[in-house]
């Protein structure tokens, strides 16, 4: 972008950062020049004001549109984002399936599945802790790779939103599990607790 124009319109030049990097590099200078022309050819102060109003109103919509286009293009060019998000998201499904099954059982039969294998070791530790941990790990690793790639290829970092969403959900589940009353029964030393099932179950029931 031209320094002279950037100095003339410092605020507008800063607002151009709302556009994706590649787009800004290609069209930013021309946009500044076009704004300069519009203002230079405006016949009166009132017309100059109208030019500014039109430009300022036009910017957020156009920037959002370009961001969305770039997100779409980046996602299209990086199928790995979709793949990692799907894999990590699928690892969270057993938890939601178990919660749904329990909820339905409660709603339809006024019972719970707490005495079924679903809510007892070793399955409980698997879907409530290990799978979300694995999902979170995959999503965080994928997110880091996607952000690094977006930085080097000037793509949109926002394209990694599915991975960020899985990260948030997985970390939320892990957080909820860690703060749950009975968690220390299984997380103190998961391998040992799984071997000593009877003590673990007693501990969970006591809680």
């Amino acid at each position: 972008m031209d320094d002279q124009l950037r100095q003339r319109f410092p605020r507008y030049a800063r607002l151009l950062r709302l556009y994706p990097g590649a787009y800004r590099n290609r069209y930013g200078g021309e946009m500044l020049q076009t704004l300069a022309d519009m203002l230079d050819y405006a016949a009166s102060p009132a017309e100059r004001r109208r030019v500014w109003v039109r430009t300022v109103l036009d910017l957020p919509l156009a920037a959002a549109q370009q961001q969305l286009i770039t997100i779409g293009e980046t996602m299209h060019q990086s199928p790995f984002i979709k793949r990692s998000a799907l894999i990590s998201g699928a690892l969270l499904l057993p938890l939601f399936a178990a919660l749904t099954a329990n909820g339905l059982d409660k709603a339809l039969r006024n019972q719970t599945l707490y005495h079924s294998g679903l809510w007892n070791m070793p399955w409980l530790a698997l879907w409530v802790l290990y799978l979300p941990l694995l999902a979170g790990g995959i999503a965080i690793a994928g997110l880091c790779i996607a952000l690094l790639r977006a930085r080097s290829s000037r793509g949109s970092a926002l394209a990694a939103w599915p991975l960020a969403a899985v990260c948030i959900v997985a970390l939320g589940i892990i957080g909820a599990v860690l703060f749950h009353d009975s968690v220390h029964c299984v997380t103190g030393n998961p391998v040992r607790e799984l071997r000593n099932m009877h003590a673990t179950l007693t501990c969970v029931q006591q809680r």
Partner: protein, 116 residues
């Protein structure tokens, strides 16, 4: 850009403005406003968003060795001329049909700016 769909009003207006001669951003904006009798008023964001779409679809191209880094000239490509012709044909048929059905008076109407 899907060739089976009609161009947006802005994209169509830009192609039409470039049918006269190659233009840079501000000239394009002025011509579009003039051609549409002020109905299409573009800001820099909307203008270059559409220009990018048209360049990506190879309907227009930047002219090499013309203008400067910050004032680049654009012109229609062969594909752009074909597309503009096809769009004009569609509108021509539509206007003719509208006249036949007396939806559109001969001297005024919503499409008058297109056929004047």
């Amino acid at each position: 850009m899907d060739t089976s769909e009609l161009l947006s009003r802005t994209a169509f207006s830009i192609l039409l403005a470039l049918s006269l001669k190659p233009r840079h951003g501000y000239e394009l904006m002025q011509q579009v406003e003039h051609d549409t009798a002020g109905r299409v008023k573009l800001g820099p964001g909307a203008l270059y968003g559409t220009v990018k779409q048209l360049v990506d679809a190879s309907l227009i191209e930047e002219m090499p060795f013309a203008g400067t880094e910050r004032r680049r000239y654009y012109r229609l490509t062969k594909k752009g001329w074909d597309r503009l012709g096809a769009e004009m044909q569609y509108y021509e048929q539509t206007v003719r049909l509208a006249r036949e059905r007396q939806v559109l008076p001969a001297d005024k109407g919503a499409f008058a700016w297109m056929i004047s």
